[in-house]
């Protein structure tokens, strides 16, 4: 768990390595800004040295809808096939923030069948705000109306450092701050509320969870369906490694039969056993 936290902190730092940008209140525009990071990290964050995959995708839909989105689709495919939602568990700064907020000692909202149902909402957000609305309205709808990472990392710091922007912000900015505040409060009570219920990037990566190179797998022949892994998991999983799994590894720690493991470690062990034969 400690290793995961270190990786989360490092990735947040690497994504936003342009620390002088926060003091200057300016967006970094040099290379490698053309590259996409795997997690949700706003392009317009003064510290961001690379792009957000969702922002890039919407920007492509909005600006050059006649050109095929080769690059961004290729990047998302690559990230998905390699990592699936392990990106959520290890490489997303906004996920890290939610986990830290959840440590605040207050009564917690437990997961249930209701939260499992609500978790489908993120697929609606994906289709509507990342797909349909940008293509139809010509605006990056998720960035513009919802993205809490954008408000926190970009909107607020840039408005704070630029008097010109302070003069022209309006109702939309207030709406976005309201959304951010709501999600911050939700994260205190519900583990990773945004990730579970609204994140379209998590929704996208979830389709790759079963086939991703890195992640968690259950050995069905060893599993006795005791349910310890599901109870230990803070996400709305039905089984470790399914679409809701963010590969945090808590299930591996509690499985008494060793049925749950990291995919790459299981594959390595199998190869070693085959070599011995």
């Amino acid at each position: 768990m400690r290793r995961r936290r270190i990786i989360q902190l490092l990735s947040a730092l690497i994504y936003n390595a342009n620390l002088p940008g926060f003091a200057a209140g300016r967006i970094y525009t040099k290379q490698p800004k053309g590259l996409c990071v795997p997690g949700l990290n706003c392009y317009s964050c003064p510290g961001a040295v690379a792009s957000c995959p969702l922002g890039t995708l919407q920007n492509k839909l909005v600006s050059t809808p006649d050109k095929a989105m080769f690059y961004i689709i290729g990047i998302l495919l690559l990230f998905g096939v390699l990592f699936g939602r392990l990106i959520c568990g290890f490489l997303c700064p906004f996920g890290l923030l939610q986990e830290l907020l959840h440590k605040i000692p207050v009564p917690k909202l437990q997961k249930s069948r209701v939260t499992q149902r609500i978790s489908y909402l993120k697929y609606i957000v994906l289709i509507l705000f990342i797909g349909i609305l940008p293509a139809v309205t010509g605006s990056p709808a998720f960035c513009q109306y919802i993205c809490p990472a954008g408000t926190l990392e970009a909107g607020i710091p840039l408005v704070a450092m630029n008097e010109g922007l302070q003069a022209i912000i309006g109702g939309l900015f207030q709406w976005k701050v309201f959304i951010l505040a709501g999600l911050v409060i939700l994260s205190v009570f519900a583990h990773r509320g945004f990730c579970r219920f609204a994140c379209p990037l998590g929704a996208l990566y979830s389709f790759f969870n079963k086939i991703s190179v890195f992640g968690i797998r259950v050995e069905k022949s060893t599993c006795n369906h005791c349910g310890k892994c599901i109870r230990a998991c803070p996400m709305d999983i039905k089984m470790p490694g399914d679409r809701e799994c963010i590969s945090c590894g808590k299930c591996i720690d509690v499985c008494s039969r060793g049925a749950v493991s990291w995919k790459h470690k299981r594959d390595k062990k199998r190869k070693e056993m085959e070599c011995e034969r």
Binding site: I27, T29, K33, G34, C36, C42, Y43, S44, S51, G55, T56, N59, K60, V62, S63, T64, K67, A68, M69, F70, Y71, I72, I73, G74, I75, L77, L78, G80, V81, L82, S139, P140, C143, Q144, C147, G150, T151, A154, G155, L158, V159, L165, I168, I169, G170, G171, L172, F173, Q174, W175, K176, F208, K210, I211, S212, V213
Partner: protein, 49 residues
């Protein structure tokens, strides 16, 4: 077909597709589009424009 083999072949096909798409994207200049519209994304995420 065994599930592991199915996953393995799916991975290979998708990785190959990803590589082709990224290559095509760089070739056609999609790589630079993110920079070209920086101002638009910036203003949008602040709720302006």
């Amino acid at each position: 077909m065994e599930q592991t083999k199915k996953s393995k072949y799916t991975r290979i096909i998708l990785l190959f597709t990803a590589a082709c798409f990224i290559g095509l994207g760089i070739y056609f200049g999609g790589y630079f589009d993110a920079l070209a519209n920086a101002a638009r994304i910036c203003l949008s995420c602040m709720g302006i424009g």
